[in-house]
């Protein structure tokens, strides 16, 4: 080492070319570009793209299940000449397949944020032009986009199938539009909750378990209590109980505003007034998730 260093010191810059170090004179695209790069890397990562073959299995499988169910529904619709519309509403699809969506969030939210926290890569991001807000926004948007692909793609399949089956164009387009708005809301809500839970539990197994707990146990609890309320004739409570789990929140919002039929016991669902409360809670949860993430990353800065 010492001899090499000795000669190099003696002749400064003239040696740079000999050794082959090339400096970089090209453009530096800055903060917005870095944020976009982080977004696309995280979005691709949610489906295992750019990661090991092993990590592609689960997200691809879940995505496949969603699409397969949609294809089966389309096949049924086409094979049954008497049908004039799809066997299910667009807005029902995500509610029926919530377990698949829950698994996707539980497996991918931790890989999106917990990895950086567990392996302490976060300081490497924050020693670069991007700021905390860029990191949080990119991760949030990427997770929400991944969920939108997961939940929106089957709806697109249903819609295309419905048009091929020559169902009423106006009806189908309206239903499809309502379904897309609903899954968009669901994606943002689930992404926020999933990321918050994952960011607060950097340890691998915990994150997955905690996300499943938040999404499915709350649903189990809420629907059980709702069923009890239905049995005991206190139907008024059913609507308000729905505020306490993510999937029933979405159910409530789409029943109130998006022409969905509620999966609540009795099939009533909230009216417009209660629907506003549902919408407010959803938006508050999304905003709250964002705020918690920002706080979380202030602590781990460097």
């Amino acid at each position: 080492m010492s001899t090499e260093t000795g000669t190099a010191t003696g002749s400064d810059t003239s040696r740079i070319h000999n050794i082959g170090y090339r400096s970089y004179d090209g453009v530096r695209l800055g903060r917005a570009y870095a944020r976009r790069s982080l977004y696309s890397q995280s979005l691709r990562g949610s489906f295992g793209l750019g990661r090991s073959a092993k990590s592609k299995v689960l997200p691809m499988l879940l995505c496949g299940v969603m699409c397969m169910v949609a294809l089966i529904l389309v096949a049924v619709a086409m094979a049954t000449p008497t049908l004039t519309k799809l066997p299910i509403k667009y807005t029902d699809f995500a509610i029926y397949l919530q377990a698949v969506i829950g698994l996707f969030v539980a497996s991918q939210a931790p890989q999106s944020v917990s990895r950086d926290l567990r392996f302490k890569s976060v300081p490497l991001y924050f020693s670069r032009p991007i700021e905390r807000i860029d990191y949080v926004l990119a991760k949030f948007a990427a997770m929400a986009s991944a969920l939108l692909i997961l939940t929106g793609l089957p709806l697109v399949i249903l819609y295309v199938g419905a048009l091929l089956a020559k169902f009423d164009f106006g009806d189908q387009t309206k239903g499809f539009g309502q379904g897309m708005v609903s899954v968009a809301l669901l994606s943002v809500l689930f992404a926020g909750l999933g990321l918050v839970v994952a960011a607060l539990t950097p340890r691998r197994g915990f994150g997955v378990a905690a996300v499943i707990a938040v999404l499915t146990i709350t649903y189990g609890a809420v629907s059980t209590v709702q069923a009890i309320a239905w049995e005991t004739d206190s139907a008024g409570a059913i609507t308000w109980l729905g505020l306490f789990s993510p999937i029933t929140l979405i159910d409530g919002v789409q029943t109130a505003f998006l022409g969905a039929s509620s999966a609540f016991p009795g099939g009533e669902g909230p009216g417009a007034a209660a629907g506003v409360a549902y919408l407010i809670v959803v938006l508050a949860l999304v905003a709250g998730s964002y705020a918690v993430l920002m706080r979380r990353y202030r602590r781990v800065g460097l």
């Binding site: 400064d12 090339r22 400096s23 970089y24 990895r115």
Partner: protein, 348 residues
């Protein structure tokens, strides 16, 4: 972009009575520094304020009072611009085990704003320069500590910064890995033209690597001067000669003739040549100028001995550091024993 020559005479890092106080601790206490281009060592024990200083320099943590500028940019207002031109290598592990070095460094290059193609090219170049070849396609989880440190260095260099901040880069490395890392750090400046601020709590290893050493302790500046000042105030020559038939003990013969010529010898019987191989046969000669070299050469020739080696023995930073601290201690405490020990070391 800027090789070292174009930033000569420009201050790379400047701080002015920079303080950082936490509710219970004062991490930095009115620290004023002026660091030029080159390799600068930031020395201090654990908790001396090194990491706090780095955070402030990256514009990630506001100073309680005082000002700091990096590459002429104010840390308080131009943090993003600083971070675009500066690379940072953290002390702790920061690499995900499940991706390859290439994938990881490409991603980090893009985070620094490099377009996709440039990011890939720069990654390949940089990994080669830090000495990672075929293994760069394998997942990082299987790397040795030395290889991981190289990846960490590569991600700090990939966007061709003008300055890199390296926090304890030799941590956890074995002696060989340590030497290689130090050599690499030296090359970052000499070959790549990138200024370096490297922290360490080991003074000795910075001696060979740094042009300039800053010693901080308890958040205050203890000493800042060039490595040359530290190590070359007086030159000591280590001389080793062979024995011959006429002079069965060549070392002793040379000692006598040199002493006779009025040359001051440091220590005796090789006591102070500790650490050098063949210590018993080495004379430490205090060189006062060119003529000392000539005298040693002539004396050896006169005696008909073989000159095995004659080399400059530099002072170690550790000694100077110890002196600085004992001097300080002496001023305040005036403890006889400590002072004696300190001045004893001063002589060679």
């Amino acid at each position: 972009m800027a090789p070292a020559t174009s930033v000569v005479d420009v201050t790379v890092i400047a701080t002015e009575s920079l303080s950082k106080r936490f509710p219970r601790v004062t991490a930095l206490d009115r620290l004023s520094l002026d660091i030029g281009p080159g390799v600068t060592g930031l020395v201090g024990s654990n908790g001396a304020g090194k990491s706090t200083l780095i955070k402030i320099l990256l514009g990630l943590s506001p100073a309680t009072e005082g000002r700091a500028a990096v590459l002429g940019l104010d840390v308080a207002t131009e943090g993003a611009a600083i971070r675009e031109r500066v690379g940072y290598m953290p002390e702790h592990d920061c690499l995900p085990p499940d991706v390859s070095a290439t994938e990881f460094v490409v991603h980090m290059a893009r985070m620094s704003g490099l377009p996709p193609t440039a990011a890939r090219e720069r990654t390949a170049d940089t990994l080669r320069h830090v000495g990672l070849y075929e293994e760069r396609y394998r997942p990082i989880g299987g790397y040795s500590t030395g290889m991981k440190q190289r990846v960490k260095l590569a991600q700090a260099l990939v966007h061709d910064p003008q300055l890199v901040l390296l926090d304890e880069p030799t941590n956890g490395l074995d002696p060989v890995g340590r030497d290689e890392m130090l050599g690499l750090i030296r090359r970052v400046h000499t070959d790549f033209g990138i200024s370096v601020l490297v922290t360490s709590h080991l003074l000795g290893e910075l001696e060979r690597t740094c042009d300039h050493v800053v010693v901080i302790d308890g958040g205050t500046l203890l000493r800042s001067s060039s490595t040359r000042d530290f190590t070359q105030t007086t030159t000591t020559l280590a001389v080793e000669v062979t024995d011959s038939d006429t002079h069965p003990d060549g070392t002793d013969a040379l000692r006598r003739i040199l002493t006779g010529a009025g040359i001051k010898l440091v220590g005796h019987d090789g006591v102070d040549a500790e650490g050098l191989p063949g210590a018993g046969h080495i004379l430490l000669v205090e060189a006062t100028g060119e003529e000392t070299y000539d005298l040693v050469r002539d004396s050896v020739a006169e005696l008909g001995l073989g000159l095995v080696r004659m080399e400059q023995r530099r002072h170690h930073i550790a000694e100077v550091f110890r002196t600085a601290r004992t001097a300080e201690a002496a001023m305040t405490v005036a403890a006889g024993a400590g002072q004696q020990k300190g001045s004893g070391r001063d002589e060679h």
